[in-house]
């Protein structure tokens, strides 16, 4: 019975194949607000259910979570559509929340880890929608040259992708570092490998979008105000990362 409970939680703290539910729902959700809510609330539901669950997490579940995370990280490499890319990265990152949960980290810390993973993904969703609006599709490798065409947008995109893939000093970096420290040796090596694949996927995504010649057609870059809004959000994330790491590592 306890194991069935974990299967249910596996819908929200993704465990393959239950993880497919989240990605299917995200792919079919076109309402921007609903997508943000999904990205922010989905792992929190999982953590809340987990904290309410009485049983101890079995060790085989950690391996399953790690394998799920690895699978979605691997799938990121060839995923060109930015919306689904965001969903895969979310799945890969949230599955890793099982590791600190297994190690017995306090719930408040797990919630902050989940939020740290979700917020940059919300930024990426917003940016993907902007690309869809301008080009009809948010595909890496399809048009490229955004660094020359719309430099402010490209700058925000680069930093958001870095924030989402656990680059210092963003909260995701400290969440990964903390998860690694509390893990057993072999899961720690697996986690490090997943981290490496995220970096690879991030570079592939960015190269397909920002690199290339600028075509002579009028395009609308982000407004100054919007850019400052994104910058404030990203700086807020940085500060959150510093505060969380300073008090908990």
């Amino acid at each position: 019975m306890a194991d069935l409970g974990f299967m249910f939680i596996g819908l929200f703290l993704p465990l393959f194949p239950f993880s497919m539910v989240f990605n299917a729902v995200l792919a079919r959700t076109s309402q921007p607000l609903l997508r943000w809510v999904l990205l922010l609330a989905w792992p929190q539901i999982g953590l809340w259910t987990l904290s309410a669950h009485a049983g101890a997490i079995p060790s085989w579940l950690v391996i399953w979570a790690l394998a799920t995370s690895l699978l979605y990280a691997f799938r990121l490499l060839a995923m060109r559509e930015m919306g689904r890319w965001t969903g895969f990265l979310a799945t890969s990152a949230w599955a890793l929340l099982w590791l600190p949960s297994y190690a017995g980290l306090p719930a408040s810390q797990l919630w902050s880890f989940a939020a740290g993973f979700s917020v940059p993904l919300v930024f990426l969703t917003l940016l993907a929608q902007e690309l869809e609006r301008q080009y009809g599709a948010a595909y890496t490798g399809l048009y490229g040259g955004l660094a020359r065409r719309i430099p402010r947008f490209a700058g925000v995109l680069v930093i958001s992708v870095l924030a989402a893939t656990a680059t210092p000093l963003f909260p995701t970096f400290f969440a990964m570092l903390h998860s690694l420290i509390v893990s057993q040796p072999l899961p720690a090596v697996g986690l490090a490998g997943i981290w490496l694949i995220w970096s690879w996927a991030a570079a592939r995504l960015l190269q397909g979008l920002i690199v290339g010649p600028a075509e002579p057609r009028p395009e609308l870059d982000l407004g100054i105000g919007t850019t400052w809004g994104y910058a404030a959000g990203l700086v807020g994330l940085l500060v959150a990362g510093l505060i969380l790491s300073g008090s908990r590592l």
Partner: protein, 560 residues
């Protein structure tokens, strides 16, 4: 907070402030914005020089902590020396870039990235805890990726900067794992506390009863190998020439040396290892030889320079492998200055080559057209004797001057051996030079070699005293790098025999004016070297297979 601690904090803060101002004022100042970066560079260099002066004047080593678990900086000889090198090279690169990058798009962004890179490097060398070190180590890879991809139109620049990025990320992970092992063992992130605990209990074990220092040493060495382009993790270095020249200079003169720095920073851990330094030595020697062979076989001068750096990095890692840690620092500084000069003067050399191709004329041309006498050859056996004997005499005498107990350290003997090989190679090259008065040329070269060796010996001895003043610690490092004496003698004799036979064959071949044409086997070997052992092809094939597999999985699981 005393003045030293304030300066330690100010040093990495200056480029950070400069980056922020450059970004904010870029729109207003236009191209003049580079002045902010240069001014920041001058200020950083002055602060670094003052800090070095304070260390030399006998100020105590100290630790500047922020009161949290991370964010601390060290004030010690290693951090201050490396800080001065980084601030100096970074300043030169910035001054050079003011005009060099003037026609490029993203001028302001370039200087922001350069400032951020300088700050990350300065934080890395002064990091007083593992988290600060990890953050700086990781950020250097990210910033280098964008610096090498400064030209956002160039897909090839990004393709090759990606190779650098992914190799650096690969190298980050062993360091993260090493940090985790150290934290598990000692329950602190602070480097001074960890090093004190290491010295207090050298037999600590970790999970699965593994000796903690062997595990940590091996992980740190792996991280250093990736950063310093050791064999199999080297492919990024010769191909990252599509980036701007100032970035190449910074990379080859500073960033790539980080492996040698990292091993030195963890010297208190390596001093208690048993086998790790032997592997470090083997990897270093192999890289030095392969890098030099690949350098000689390349037709592209940029790739050739890249492989030259790879060979030098191999030599630097090898010095760590024999226990000569301070010598590795001296080497990386000397190489940094030399290679930085080479890259920054590349434009001038290309300009000169447009007027004079520099291809040497053959004997017939110089004799008939230029009316110069044909070169005078000395007997090959006599020259071979001089080539083998003189360098070893010069090296022995100069080393005995500073360290009479030299032969008690295996590492020192190996370094002498390499010095002998280098000196003999220099004299061998003299034999092939065209000169009307070869004895004068030989005398000049022997004199220069003696000056260089004495200078090198004295400076390296000074570095040893400066970086590792405790003689017992130095002895412990050499001991950790030592092997069984019998095996040591066999290896040295074997290597000497191979090299001497090689030279004798080369002398003989030169004397007989080339003789037979190369064998089929030799040609195949040359093609293999020219194709860089197909390592790149293997990596490319592997990458494509993984991407194809990822795409297939996405098709199978297309629902979510």
């Amino acid at each position: 907070m005393n003045i030293v601690h304030q300066l330690v904090i100010i040093l990495p803060s200056l480029p950070l402030v400069s980056a922020l101002l450059t970004h904010l004022l870029g729109g207003t100042l236009g191209r003049r914005v580079s002045r902010i970066s240069v001014a920041g560079g001058v200020a950083s260099f002055l602060v670094a020089a003052i800090l070095l002066g304070l260390v030399l004047s006998g100020r105590e080593v100290s630790h500047v902590a922020a009161g949290t678990s991370w964010g601390s900086l060290l004030f010690d000889p290693l951090s201050v020396l490396m800080g001065l090198l980084i601030a100096g090279i970074s300043l030169l690169v910035r001054v050079y870039s003011v005009r060099y990058m003037a026609e490029e798009a993203g001028y302001g962004r370039f200087f922001v990235l350069l400032d951020l890179m300088t700050a990350a490097l300065l934080i890395m060398v002064a990091a007083g805890d593992l988290i600060t070190l990890l953050i700086a180590w990781h950020l250097i890879g990210v910033l280098l990726y964008f610096l090498l991809g400064q030209d956002t139109r160039s897909k090839s620049a990004y393709r090759y900067s990606f190779w650098t990025f992914i190799t650096y990320r690969f190298g980050d992970l062993p360091l993260v794992l090493a940090a985790a092992v150290l934290f598990h063992t000692f329950h602190t992130w602070s480097l001074p506390e960890i090093f004190a605990a290491v010295a207090a209990d050298p037999d600590t074990t970790t999970f699965f009863d593994l000796p903690v220092y062997e595990v940590v040493g091996a992980l740190i060495a792996m991280s250093a190998f990736a950063r310093s382009a050791q064999f199999l993790l080297h492919t990024w270095l010769p191909y990252t020439m599509d980036g701007p020249t100032p970035v190449s200079a910074l990379m080859h003169a500073g960033i790539v040396n980080a492996g040698g720095f990292l091993i030195n920073r963890f010297a208190p851990v390596f001093a208690y290892t048993d086998n790790v330094l032997h592997w470090v030595f083997i990897v270093g020697v192999f890289t030095a030889v392969i890098g030099s062979v690949l350098m000689l076989s390349q037709h592209d001068i940029k790739k050739s320079l890249g492989y030259s750096t790879m060979g030098q990095m191999g030599f630097m890692i090898m010095e760590c492998g024999v226990g000569a840690f301070s010598l590795a620092i001296f080497h990386l500084i000397a190489h940094g200055l030399f290679k930085g000069t080479l890259f920054l003067s590349a434009g001038g050399i290309i300009g000169e080559a447009r007027h004079d191709d520099g291809v040497p004329k053959d004997d017939l041309y110089t004799f008939i057209i230029e009316r110069r006498p044909a070169r005078n050859r000395q007997p090959w056996l006599l020259m071979a004797g001089i080539t083998l004997a003189i360098p070893v005499l010069v090296l022995l005498l100069s080393h005995l001057l500073v360290a009479p107990n030299l032969f008690q350290k295996q590492g020192a003997i190996i370094l002498l051996f390499f010095g002998w090989v280098t000196g003999a190679q220099l004299l061998f090259a003299t034999y092939n030079m065209r000169s009307e008065n070869p004895w004068r040329l030989v005398a000049l070269i022997v004199f220069s070699f003696t000056i260089v060796v004495i200078g090198y010996t004295l400076i390296s001895h000074a570095f040893d005293v400066f970086l590792y003043p405790d003689p017992d610690f130095g002895t412990r490092l050499y001991k950790a790098a030592g092997i069984d004496f019998g095996w040591f003698v066999i290896l040295v004799v074997f290597a000497s025999a191979v090299i001497v036979l090689g030279w004798l064959r080369a002398y003989y071949t030169e004397r007989s004016q080339g003789g037979r044409s190369p064998s089929h086997w030799w040609r195949n070997f040359y093609v293999l070297v020219w194709r860089e052992f197909h390592i790149l092809d293997i990596y490319t094939g592997l990458t494509r297979s993984l991407l194809a597999a990822s795409a297939r999985v996405n098709v199978w699981l297309r629902w979510g």
